[in-house]
């Protein structure tokens, strides 16, 4: 974290520091950290049906990573999650960046209206989003076909949500549609912080608006792009709702849309006839946490350090 200058020594303000931090830390520790630790503790225990919890060390981890069925499921969901993340990185963030770039063009009319409208999908609940897109993509109701028909592309339409090859990608796109607002908002704010003079200078230097964006603005907002990326990563590896809303916890067809979140849910809470297994569920969650932590640490130490924040 970049500090603007010397901070005030806490000894001069002992009580205030404590008073400022205490309420947030207490509520957070009590309702977030304690339950999480309590649950993660479960990953070292097992409770055979009807029996008491017993400490089993790393057995649960061995099961998840060692048992062929479990590890296949686990790695399947991991790789699906990576694909899910890749689509967000390759589609959501570039679209967000591009739209933010366009919105930050000088003298653009209606920019605030555009921005407000474009962020609307982000406000919706996944129940709504899942429902809308199922409706649109349903081969039965023909909204999708009709829309493609407008462009003469009707023949391209397929039951994307139902095919193993395309279901995950389709869901990723739906998620992209919903969440584009976040990178858009954050990067737009960063772009606005770039002084107009820099843009003017580049234009006088003979750059087109695209070149200004590519050579000047983008390099300058790279730290924000990196932050958006890590938020995307954390968000994607915690994702659950959309897939659950559209495909259920079984994440079909044939687990092709199964990501870590759905795997966790299915394992922890059970699904249909499958009983929940809190111990294994907690193990999955702990592994998720480790993966996310690894990603975050990678970002902190390998990426963020290398990205210079330029004083604008």
């Amino acid at each position: 974290m970049a500090h603007s200058g010397p901070m005030t020594d806490w000894r001069k303000a002992k009580l205030p520091v404590f008073a400022f931090l205490a309420p947030a830390t207490i509520i957070y520790s009590l309702f977030m950290i304690y339950p999480l630790i309590d649950s993660i503790r479960l990953s070292f225990y097992a409770a055979p049906s009807g029996e008491e919890l017993a400490f089993v060390g790393f057995d649960n981890y061995r099961t998840i990573l060692g048992d062929p069925d479990w590890s296949a499921t686990f790695w399947n969901s991991f790789w699906n999650n990576m694909k899910f993340f890749a689509v967000h990185m390759l589609v959501q963030n570039p679209i967000g960046i591009a739209l933010a770039g366009i919105l930050s063009l000088p003298q653009l009319k209606f920019r605030n209206s555009y921005r407000t409208l474009m962020i609307m999908p982000t406000m919706l609940s996944v129940v709504i989003v899942g429902f809308i897109w199922q409706l649109i993509l349903s081969p039965v109701w023909g909204v999708g076909t009709d829309i493609l028909d407008i462009f003469g592309l009707k023949s391209l339409f397929g039951p994307w949500l139902g095919k193993e090859g395309s279901a995950l990608i389709t869901l990723s796109f739906i998620s992209v549609w919903q969440w584009v607002g976040i990178p858009l908002m954050l990067i737009y704010a960063a772009l606005l912080a770039i002084p107009d003079d820099l843009v003017d200078a580049a234009i006088v230097d003979g750059a087109t608006h695209f070149e200004v964006f590519w050579h000047i603005k983008l390099p300058l907002v790279l730290p924000t792009v990196a932050m958006v990326s890590i938020l995307t990563f954390v968000g994607n590896f915690n994702a659950f709702d959309l897939i659950y809303a559209v495909k259920g916890a079984l994440a079909g067809p044939n687990f092709s849309t199964d990501i870590m979140g759905t795997l966790f849910y299915r394992t922890f809470f059970g699904y249909q006839l499958q009983l929940g297994n809190p111990s294994l569920g907690a193990t999955v969650a702990s592994l998720m946490f480790l993966i996310i932590l690894a990603g975050v640490l990678f970002y902190l130490f390998a990426v963020q350090r290398r990205l210079a924040r330029y004083q604008l």
Binding site: L117, V127, N238, F289
Partner: protein, 282 residues
């Protein structure tokens, strides 16, 4: 006269730019539009011609009448609203306080505390559901909106602190020191100077906090499913049955559920625009 001075490339660029923006706006809004128009149609109207506007034949308020008759929508609204608003207020206040302390004061372990407070961004809080439920039961808060608020506050704090800390760093140092020289106490500096100054950032955090809370289904279900305590998302769920889905009612309640969050968003978004365009706090 006017046009002679306007560069042709500017004109064509403006056309292209607006074409792109409008296309994307359309992509963003069309699905929402679909939900809303279909909410005003009969079931047959919905499924015979989902893209058509409601017309004399297909227009129907059946969904809305059902939703309003069968469920206490006012109550759901009220619950969702109060939970969301109170949570936002608490998250913003406590989050800003903590962010302020973290960004302003140097004390042993401040980096660790910052990291500790950030862990919450990385793990799904659902994982802790059972412990949370037990805790809430022990506190005797089950089936109260307070329970929801507490959990949401804990859930919203990490991101709020994370974002607000960044913004706090941008507040000119002179301003705080001027206040100190003015003889202003630390609390007063925070409440009278800092809080008003970071309003735009606060609006951003409010939006980020609001979305998952308003739309959450899980905690209302386990913490406050009781009569008169349901939130709107939970309310909608009652129209999604096991084998039968009441589409009219679902669409109507979805549309109804969109409205309040949009209003909240628009309120905050004015602050947000101010924040974005004024370079944060200058």
């Amino acid at each position: 006269m006017m046009t002679k001075n306007i560069r042709r490339e500017d004109m064509s660029r403006a056309v292209i730019v607006h074409a792109i923006l409008m296309t994307y706006t359309l992509v963003a809004l069309y699905p929402i539009f679909l939900v809303i128009i279909n909410a005003f149609k009969t079931r047959k109207g919905i499924f015979r011609d989902p893209m058509g506007l409601p017309n004399a034949e297909t227009f129907s308020l059946e969904g809305f009448t059902k939703v309003l008759a069968k469920s206490n929508f006012e109550v759901f609204f009220f619950n969702s609203f109060s939970v969301t608003i109170i949570t936002i207020a608490v998250v913003l206040l406590l989050g800003a306080m903590a962010a302020w302390a973290l960004s302003e004061y140097k004390f042993p372990g401040s980096t660790w505390l910052a990291l500790y407070l950030a862990i919450g961004i990385m793990v799904p809080i659902r994982l802790g559901s059972v412990s949370i439920l037990n805790l809430i039961v022990d506190l005797g808060l089950i089936n109260t909106l307070t329970a929801l608020v507490l959990v949401y506050v804990a859930q919203g704090l990490p991101l709020a602190i994370f974002i607000l800390t960044e913004f706090m760093h941008q507040i000119p140092k002179d301003l705080k020191e001027a206040a100190r020289c003015d003889g202003v106490g630390e609390f007063k500096i925070f409440f009278a100077i800092i809080l008003p100054l970071i309003r735009p950032a606060v609006a951003t955090v409010a939006v980020f906090t609001m979305i998952p809370i308003w739309n959450d289904l899980w905690f209302p279900l386990i913490l406050a499913p009781g009569d008169g305590k349901q939130t709107i998302t939970l309310g909608i769920q009652q129209f999604i049955g096991q084998y039968v889905t009441d589409w009219n009612a679902v669409l109507a309640s979805l549309s109804l559920a969109i409205i309040p969050i949009m209003i909240l968003y628009l309120i905050f978004s004015r602050q947000l625009i101010r924040g974005l365009t004024s370079g944060a706090v200058k």
